[in-house]
């Protein structure tokens, strides 16, 4: 809201509004440098698409920037952003955004890794993950990529630990069914 002319600036604890903004921007820039590649990786796993991942990440970072002063515990910034990314991805999915197709002439730089292994167990696993709705997929990414505990995962997603457990079990059951037996861990014994 624009304040009426002549209205005194609010108290800011001895620091001018300009200085506060500069400090915020410096802190945020440092955060971007330190964490962005890792966040992009999480966004890619959540979305399964490099373009969508970048959109989700940019929007999430912008929302984090808007709320930066609110996140007083700097150790919890990643957790806060993870929550925004998950919500943003769910929201995009709701709006049907992901159903649009993206076309490109050039393979994006830094495209996720593929190797021979993808033809078997990895490809089957990725297919299962891709087929999941975004919330179920987020459970797997947070548990098995971010290595969050069940309780931490439940907290980020706003669901019960029981739901986290059941989603993980269901995904593993799908994997058992869809991955050829000779590619099961331990060779299907």
């Amino acid at each position: 809201m624009a304040h009426p002319r002549g209205r005194p600036e609010p108290e800011t604890g001895g620091m001018s509004k300009e200085s506060k903004r500069e400090r915020k921007d410096a802190e945020f820039t440092a955060y971007l440098h330190a964490r962005q590649p890792s966040l992009l990786r999480t966004a890619y796993l959540l979305t399964g698409d490099r373009h969508v991942a970048e959109d989700v990440l940019q929007t999430s970072l912008a929302k984090l920037y808007l709320a930066w002063d609110k996140v007083r515990d700097r150790d919890s910034v990643d957790a806060y952003l993870r929550r925004i990314m998950v919500n943003e991805n769910n929201s995009l999915w709701r709006r049907g955004w992901k159903r649009r197709e993206h076309t490109t002439e050039v393979l994006p730089e830094g495209d996720p890794h593929h190797d021979q292994h993808d033809e078997g167990q990895g490809a089957a696993l990725w297919d299962v993950v891709q087929s999941l709705p975004p919330k179920a997929r987020a459970v797997l990414v947070l548990r098995y990529y971010e290595q969050l505990s069940e309780a931490e995962t439940a907290d980020v997603l706003g669901i019960s630990t029981g739901t986290v457990k059941s989603q993980c079990s269901r995904a593993i059951a799908s994997l058992r069914q869809r991955v050829p037996v000779d590619l099961h861990p331990g060779g299907g014994r």
Binding site: Y44, Y65, L66, R94, Q121, G122, L140, C168, P185
Partner: protein, 406 residues
Amino acid sequence: MNDMNQNQNDESGSTDHRAWEGVMSTEFDRRVRDLHEAPFDLDSVRGKAVRIRRKRRVGAAVAGLAAAAVVLPVALLAANGQADEGRVVPAATQPTEAVDPTPPAPEAEPPADALYLEGDQLHLVDGSVTQLPSAASTYTNAVVQGEGRIVAFRRNDDGSQQAVDVIEDGQVVDSYPTEASMVVGDSGVVAFVTRGGEVRAIWESGTSVLAEDYRFWTPVAVTGGPACDDEDCQVYLRSERTAEPPVAINGTGAATPQSDVVSVLDATDDGLVSTVVDTGRFEYCSNLFDKGRPVLEQCDYRLDELSPDGRYALGTDIQSDGIGPGVLYIVDLDGAVVATFDPGDAYMNTYEWLDDQTIITTVYDFTTARWSVQTMDLDGTIETIAGPAKGGGTDPSTSPAFYVVG
């Protein structure tokens, strides 16, 4: 199966589970191990932040228009009054009927005993019909104040003729041209701004000019009553032409600017007010005030609708944007979420309190392309009371209408 075999199977199942977990971790790592880019600098993030902020403002305005688009064609009366003791504005109390899920809304069949306006006929809860005086413009809101007296707002299509009429025994006895609509408090007090800039309140036993020089200010809520001649009665106004903050004018005429308040969302008869507040830090919060004293300051939910007993708020994600909220929250006065309404791949068009314990909402499911009307209690129990039915598409104007009457 004996215990030993059972234990062996459990152990083997658990080992297998862990093995698959390991496979998943390895595969996720492999998928992204070559991603090292940092595509965004501060400028691009900040630019996006500015667009989000602007969009939230526009979204709020569009939401208001959408509600009007649905409500006005069916001449549904304001949803913030009560229908007791002969007062007939629909209330957030008990549903009698509600719902024709077949859009578009203007074709919806009004419930037989509901209160609504149909042309210049005002249908009352007791089933009687009162003929309003013929006028060049259409009545869109009305409240009964005592025996035979009605205060009603009318406007024509382009808004060039708007007025609040006081009608007694079928005749207009007073008429006040206005720039904007009137608001009706839970107690039946009506407040509006005349075209000359007077802030006027009308209640069952009196009327008063609370302040002057408020032309181009729009009333957004009125609290207190049943008379508006003391400090408990507060009329909240929003400026349409300047960046001044909203102002609260009480029954004695004292005006209090609501510093940092961007808009007033809802108010109860007891003086609880829900607001949107600009923190000055590039973000909005939604705070509750009880007779001007802050009782809840939080930035997670936009507290759109207060329950009739003032114990809860119906909130939406304050960060959300787009066609409509995807999740509704019932939040208590400590800011804790009591229940969450999350229908999945869907959005909600209209939502309000049905009574102290229940919210009601129109829901569009993107997957099935169907509208429905659903309710949720404080304990999270969800019930579909109409639909799902096919509408004209995702557009809010195709949403079904519901009537909430006492």
